[in-house]
Symmetry: C3
Subunit: 339 residues, 3 copies
């Protein structure tokens, strides 16, 4: 859709500086924008591009407005305003209700007439699908799953039995929600599987990335609270609980029964041991190795950033000697003190 810059300013509650008559129809980067494009400046490293932009309008902060060669939409939080404008200009397609001929839908399933069930989908017994839900191609909805209104399963999503999905949830291709978790008892050398009778419950506005796996609880449920955003290729073990609005970047893993608080951020490839308690507002940088409970708020890191391989080999050799080096140091201190 296209909208005048003036109307966009009103929609965003931004201050318009310059001519509001032009219309913008899509978003673009400062350097790639043409006259029908809306762009934004949220990071001052890109100010050089601002000076050259040919965008139809630019969203930016007051401090940068004087440098803007085209109409400016001034706001305190340009990135958020851009997000809202982009959603306006590039809306998700409306869901048209119906069931594709190639879908296999159990007779006992309840599908709201306004929901779309795409090609090659499988809907098993007793599934309940709410209004305006979009179930994209080749999704599998296991026995007794429930999906709240306006949720979107992009494609090839697997919901195992009894998974509960809230409203406005976004599930990306290849994610597997509700697998029976990794629970075994030892019988001599052999492993005996323990039935996993809990569920996964995803709150409203949750997002789960592509090929991410969320295991169902052993007895109680695995809980992902409202507003949680989980990226691609992440493992969430059974009985994990994640608090509201926490966000996790790709390739991370959370072992069973760990609880993470609200408003946390987890960098890429972070690993968390099981049975931990992580408080609210805890932030982990990428590749952090989390082995203890942490009350929060706080910011935690681990790992050794990459260094030239030859230097690294020497440092690693010394790391193995660290305890000995520390003892030698203490020995010298004693010797000097006794002199």
């Amino acid at each position: 859709m296209a909208i005048s810059v003036k109307d966009l300013a009103a929609h965003l509650q931004a201050e318009l500086r310059g001519d509001g008559a032009a219309r913008v129809a899509r978003v673009a980067s400062l350097s790639g924008a043409e006259a029908d494009c809306l762009s934004f400046l949220a990071d001052r490293r890109y100010r050089a591009a601002l000076l050259q932009t040919r965008a139809g309008a630019v969203i930016l902060a007051a401090a940068d407005a004087a440098d803007c060669p085209v109409p400016a939409l001034v706001t305190d939080n340009p990135y958020l305003a851009f997000a809202r404008a982009a959603r306006l200009l590039h809306p998700e397609p409306r869901v048209a209700g119906g069931i594709h001929d190639s879908a296999v839908v159990a007779a006992t399933a309840q599908v709201d007439p306004s929901a779309w069930i795409g090609p090659q989908v499988v809907v098993e017994d007793h599934v309940v699908i709410g209004p305006r839900v979009h179930v994209g191609p080749a999704c599998i909805l296991g026995v007794a799953c429930e999906i709240g209104a306006d949720s979107r399963l992009v494609a090839r999503v697997t919901l195992c039995e009894r998974t509960c999905v809230g409203q406005r949830v976004l599930l990306h291709p290849g994610c597997v929600i509700g697998r029976a978790g990794f629970g075994f008892a030892k019988d001599g050398d052999r492993w005996v599987r323990i039935p996993q009778i809990g569920r996964v419950r995803l709150g409203d506005d949750v997002e789960i990335g592509a090929n991410t796996t969320v295991d169902r609880g052993a007895i109680e449920d695995t809980l992902i609270a409202a507003g949680v955003k989980i990226d691609n290729l992440i493992q969430i073990g059974h009985n994990v609980e994640i608090g509201e609005n926490t966000a996790m970047a790709a390739c991370s893993g959370v072992s069973g029964s760990t609880r993470i608080g609200r408003n946390c951020t987890v960098g890429g490839a972070v690993g968390m041991a099981g049975h931990l308690e992580i408080g609210d507002d805890v932030h982990f940088t990428g590749m952090a190795m989390v082995t203890r409970s942490l009350a929060g708020p706080g910011r935690y890191s681990s790992g050794i950033p990459a260094m030239p391989s030859a230097e690294w080999r020497r440092a690693v050799a010394r790391f193995r000697q660290l305890d000995e080096l520390a003892q030698r140091l203490a020995q010298i201190e004693r010797q000097l003190q006794s002199e």
Copy 2:
């Protein structure tokens, strides 16, 4: 199903303390249990919950029996006994033989009449499927795969050509078994793919997690021995061999041609280099980085647990100086010795 506590005691070969007449129908946690529930105490941290439980019966060790306010099933290994009881109360549904209308099954495939082929499944030429096998929705069985009796492909499993699956194997959604592994020769700057003509062979009672990938061998086969349990999002490279009853937690990766022995445990997000020999009874904690062969038995770790980011930055800066620090220490020692 429901069973009397007395009959359950006999089934588990546990000692009954208290009234055996009550019937239990499902498992629950100590705190969540109602009168028709069986619970257990395997970790003494939960003893407070034991005192309050309203379960119909509790499995526990002799040392805890006196504290149990309800009928007790006393056994040496409460967790194993609980696993067995849970399997009795929550059995996998029986497989009803048949082929769903929407499945595509090659004329040359041999499907045992007692096996179930679910909706949207693809069975290619020369596949052999044994008795009581459950092939859930949207699985793909490539040319000439073989699946042994009583195996269960939950849903959306991909078996590439010629994969051999043993009996009672459990394959979770999204796993890809038998992909052509990552083998290339260099031709100047370009990579030339080497055909991967080996197979993957999964032994009896193997379990492979959701979205895990197991590559087929380059020439010989990739071998996963009986009883091996592999969690979600794990990569097993071509020509890897894993010995009986070894268990691997999620997000780990094993590079090509590495051999892992029997009865090993591998924590989450462990990485193993290629062409290693890991012996029997070797245990790795989470995020371990395995770059050498290890004879076993033994327990190995690596990684730096997360610390406050500001402290971590200082420690990392010192890590880069470690070799220099060690040399300065040695210099001081020489100086003190020569005085």
Copy 3:
């Protein structure tokens, strides 16, 4: 197919030593080879196997030819010659054009008559599929995707809307190309999704592994250049650019907007932060943690190789004290200097 050793020598431009009349029909390892097998020696650790081999012919370097008990094909690069021979003996099956009855193909899609669309495939509107493309079972091709000639989607590949795939591209099962990347703005505590309007573009001869995810760009495109080889379970964030012939091993992750140069190699489970610039000919060993831009060429490493757990615990405790240890060392130096 079978070929005489003499003809094979000509095909490989290798020097034949011994009788060229025998025919070989398949490849095998030195120890597993029978008379109809071609084998090779590329790593001198396997010379003992060479002495015992019963292969029909062996590809090897001149220095090893004297030890070969069977006809030898002598070449400077035995591994490359073996790759070529294996491709000759084990060719990919030819694609027979057509569309399987169970596929769902939109009326607006353009499918070359020589392309194969397999069972349970979904082809959405405005997709363009080139000559001799193989679309294996259960692939999903989203709106307006384009696939160049001779590409092969093995099975269960998901291409999200507008993905562009070059020629001779190989996509393995479960990969998800073109998911809307992980882009959000904060609105108080809540995350607001930013529409991702870029695409993924895969160059010619690219390979993407099983269950790997490549996110589409936020505004501009995510670019994977010609000849890039990406293994299983890898995450490529939005707006990443990877240069020609770079190869990445399994379980790695690259955060958004990072650019990697040409001819790089990335070991398994490497993590790269976002917005980095990595030059040409940069090589990372497994589990490296890449947090800074690196001009290249060069070889970089990080991580602590696994050590016995008890030693590791002591070393980790000392790591936390590293800054303090370094300060104590400096203090001693000052003290000694002032004496």
